[in-house]
């Protein structure tokens, strides 16, 4: 019990490592829960980069050695940034009954997820086979265990996978004394809860508060059900969903006249995605492509120059991981899934059928049909503004289709095993797009809504 409490406390301490983000001018005007969630994201990314650098330099991990430099740096930067002036802002909330209804719905969904995780109804087997294994072993080794990753019989640990989830597990295991195997998967709920205020605050920049709040309620319910249905407790899906959704919501909400600093948080969230899973990097590319295309079509100023920081941050973070691989005799980069051109088109029909069957998201496809229908009903209105979300949603599905077609044998079983969980960012992006498609024409193309703007 004490071990679980300490493990939870270590997760809840992550915002302390990312405090500067909570006072950054681009987010300081946001409500406290959103700023805390942004600091949580930043803390996880900062911890991952620091812990990887430690392993490159041969510095051993302990709770104190990992926490001390981060706390000092975090407090120092936060104090400096807090002095920067931030323009006052008007903030409008949802009406009382909409807020109450949305809170009740989202609350029930979170309870469903939390109880399912806690009663072992939603644990990912991969948590016991490699995500948790890496976390426990790295904590025991006091660093990223290159010997373990190099071994011939560690192929199943997917040694090339980026390190954020194992490092967050290791940090918490170091604080708790050991990885609490029964409890650790329950913390998937934290990533969902952290995403809610961020999605809400960004949607409110583009939608009237009542509509934004209602869309967030739907998003929360759909995603919570999907996480349970796909048994994503303890694997990297919930963190990946958090980072990709937060980055996407921030980029969908940004205004033409926003300063360059407004891309600070999305760049950080994209870095988190890239450090979480291999397909996180695919998502980064797709989101960036959507943002660039939107900016060009909407004739926003300097679209490619403004893209640079968004691309640079994840590249730098990945470079740290690849540097660890290079300095420890591991193959650098990600291993490929067969030859690029080795596509088995004969499986196309069974792949398409399998993919359609396993996109039900635990709601008999209802979670997908609703946003698709609302998107279709919105017509072609302001479609360019939604390109970052549409690019991620459709692009990832096409990427998975392409990947499945590389299997020499019929990949139906692999689709059943993987698609319900890896398709969750697509569902999330689709809901955000459908929510924003309901905004008035003026709201999306001339985004100066007299609502809860913050820079």
């Amino acid at each position: 019990m004490m071990q679980a409490a300490l493990f939870l406390a270590a997760h809840l301490a992550l915002p302390l490592f990312g405090l500067p983000v909570a006072v950054h001018p681009s987010l300081r005007g946001a409500p406290l829960p959103a700023r805390a969630a942004a600091a949580f994201a930043a803390g996880a990314v900062a911890l991952t980069v620091e812990a990887t650098l430690f392993s490159i330099l041969g510095i051993g991990w302990s709770a104190a050695s990992l926490a001390s430099p981060l706390l000092v740096a975090s407090l120092g930067i936060a104090m400096a940034w807090a002095r920067r002036p931030v323009p006052a802002e008007a903030r409008a909330g949802a009406s009382r009954w909409v807020a109450a209804a949305a809170t009740a719905l989202a609350g029930l969904a979170v309870v469903h997820l939390g109880l399912s995780l806690f009663t072992a109804r939603a644990t990912s087997t991969d948590f016991l086979l490699f995500w948790g294994v890496k976390g426990a072993r790295f904590a025991a080794a006091g660093g990223i265990d290159a010997d373990l990753l190099r071994r011939g019989f560690s192929h199943h640990l997917v040694p090339d996978y980026p390190p954020l989830v194992p490092i967050v597990f290791s940090w918490s295991a170091l604080v708790a004394g050991e990885l609490p195997w029964q409890f650790a998967p329950s913390l998937a709920v934290l990533w969902l809860v952290a995403a809610i205020p961020l999605v809400a605050v960004f949607l409110r920049r583009r939608l009237p508060p009542n509509t934004a709040t209602a869309v967030v309620a739907f998003w929360t319910v759909a995603v919570a059900i999907s996480i349970v249905h796909s048994a994503s407790g303890g694997n990297a899906e919930a963190p990946l969903l958090f980072f990709e959704t937060a980055a996407l919501a921030a980029l969908l909400a940004e205004r033409r006249e926003d300063p360059a600093t407004s891309r600070f948080f999305p760049a950080l969230a994209l870095s988190g995605a890239a450090l979480t899973k291999v397909e996180g990097s695919v998502a980064v590319v797709l989101i960036l492509a959507g943002v660039a295309l939107r900016d060009i079509l909407e004739r926003r100023p300097r679209p490619l120059v403004r893209l640079l920081p968004l691309a640079a941050a994840p590249i730098v973070c990945l470079a740290v991981w690849f540097a660890f691989q290079a300095t420890h005799g591991l193959p650098v980069g990600y291993r490929t899934h067969g030859e690029l051109a080795d596509v088995h088109v004969r499986h196309l029909s069974s792949v398409l059928v399998g993919m359609a069957r396993h996109l039900d998201a635990g709601t008999a496809w209802f979670s997908w049909v609703v946003p698709l229908a609302l998107l279709a009903a919105s017509g072609r209105r302001s479609r360019a503004a939604l390109l970052p979300a549409l690019s991620l949603g459709a692009g990832l599905l096409l990427f998975f289709l392409f990947d499945y077609l590389h299997d020499p044998t019929d990949p139906s079983i692999r689709i059943a095993w993987t698609l319900p969980r890896i398709s969750q960012p697509c569902l999330s992006a689709l809901i955000l797009a459908a929510g924003l498609a309901g905004a008035s024409r003026g709201a999306l193309s001339d985004p100066r809504l007299p609502l809860s703007g913050f820079r």
Binding site: V133, R137, Q182, A217, F366
Partner: protein, 145 residues
């Protein structure tokens, strides 16, 4: 569509979605509803849950730094057990008797301890250190090769 109507629509659709988890919880037997799980996989994969519990019990027997191997009636189960054991036994060294279905007896035979899941070991060659519901932990009499 006006924003008021849109708001209502999104809330109504979110309520409808909640029907699916409600059905799930109603279907769960009342006694199991909030039962404390005995493994992380109790409700998702019963077979893997039993394997996990076996390794969890075996960890109480293995001394730190020990070498071990895992044997099971099928190669799939053996692989599953080996993968789980690497996390549950971080201070011991796992030497697989098979890996992804490929037998590796020369490597497995170097292990001091044998975690036999639903399998029996040849008598006389091992000292049984612990017996659990689903298997035994034994130590080889002769030094590992």
């Amino acid at each position: 569509m006006r924003h008021g109507a849109l708001t209502l629509l999104w809330l109504a659709l979110a309520s409808l979605l909640l029907v699916f988890p409600v059905r799930l919880w109603i279907r769960a037997a009342p006694r199991d509803l909030l039962a404390r799980p005995t493994s992380p996989l109790d409700q998702t994969d019963g077979a893997a849950a039993r394997q996990w519990i076996f390794i969890q019990k075996a960890r109480t027997v293995l001394p730190p730094g020990a070498t071990y191997t895992v044997i099971a009636p099928t190669r799939d189960v053996e692989m599953n057990l080996f993968m789980m054991s690497l996390g549950l036994l971080p201070e011991a060294e796992g030497l697989p008797s098979s890996y992804y279905g490929v037998p590796t007896p020369k490597i497995g035979s170097r292990a001091r301890y044998v975690l036999a899941y639903k399998s029996s070991l040849p008598p006389g060659l091992h000292l049984t250190r612990a017996v659990f519901t689903d298997g035994t932990v034994s130590e080889r009499r002769s030094p590992p090769r």
